[in-house]
Symmetry: C3
Subunit: 149 residues, 3 copies
């Protein structure tokens, strides 16, 4: 039984952009020496999401448009109401990102568990693992935990 | 390689309330003796969800309002139509919770896999693990499975 | 420590139908010999989802109706716009399934991690594991990875 944990850092280009992590996942598995087992991909953030789907510009545009219509940016968010808010206000410049939290909660895509066979993630033909940034872009961490034989 | 499974019981205060489980998760990891590995948090229920996000009243109010607008309580649910329904009717008083099932299915937040390092869950600075109750409150179970070295 | 990975194939009856996988999950756990541990259920596809909830016709109808209202089929999808699209076009007959990708991304239900005790998945009384097909029906694979003692 082997296991290893690796944290990588990525910086998405802009808000609502996607960042492909599939090659990083593959590398984390290779470097772990695990050939049969599973990999956990974990996002330690609250305003972005880890998605597994096709990497195709049209589908990504469609998803971005749909999610922004379901959880619009131009409505009231209590999280952004500095006249009401009292918690977690230790940042110099508090971001207006209530919408991003709600989008992240709706997706609930903080972690994925992906079986590993022959040293490769068992992703389907059209599946890629990617980060979806829903806040203003900044450096993000992704944690891969790989375990097995 | 160690592993341990722990089931805890919690009772949310009311419908659409949140119940913080982060300290319970930390304790489950400590008690397992695992310092490097991962923890699975699993919810064995069909009308509540396990969420990982910021614990801030405003963001939680925003999410509650958004989800209730997307999946309203005051529309027809076949699950609650006792003139049609024939399955799983062994309860004395069948709850009117069709909306809760739909909310739970939309979130699909039954389990999370969280890497563990130095005996702690690798949650980000703003991340907390919490239960979101979408039905009338009752006792709920949460299962933690921790594994690693 | 034992682990085993099993891939099964199922063919849903039609678009927006549900396919119960609970017995297959149970069998995968039994066949692995694991009595205490966890099981990962993974869907290597991009237009269907793995759900854990009650198996009841009404709730399933309610969810189908709600999701189709939130992500309708009869609006524009860039993924289906063959005048714009340039990527991943190696199929003879490209499916018009932009809506299915968006539904799958919104659900983000590609994998579940389920603790195992006494050789059984620790599913709650009302929980079943099932596939939700959101595209035209075809053969689908489901991967179970079971690990533990």
């Amino acid at each position: 039984m082997k296991s290893s944990t690796l944290t990588i850092e990525v910086t998405p280009a802009k808000r609502f952009s996607y960042f492909d992590l599939t090659d990083e996942l593959r590398k984390a598995i290779k470097d772990s020496g695990v050939t049969e087992g599973a990999a956990i991909a974990f996002c330690p953030h609250t305003t972005c999401a880890l998605l597994v789907n096709e990497w195709e510009d049209g589908a990504q545009e469609d998803f971005r448009r749909t999610l922004r219509a379901l959880v619009p940016e131009d409505v009231y968010y209590a999280h952004d109401d500095l006249e009401r808010r009292t918690q977690n206000l230790d940042e110099v410049h508090e971001r207006q990102n209530g919408h991003s939290h709600v989008k992240a909660l709706l997706l609930s895509a903080t972690s994925h568990a992906i079986p590993v066979a022959a040293g490769e993630p068992m992703l389907g033909r059209w599946q890629r693992l990617f980060l979806f940034e829903m806040d203003d872009p900044k450096e993000r961490q992704i944690v891969f935990h790989v375990f097995g034989e």
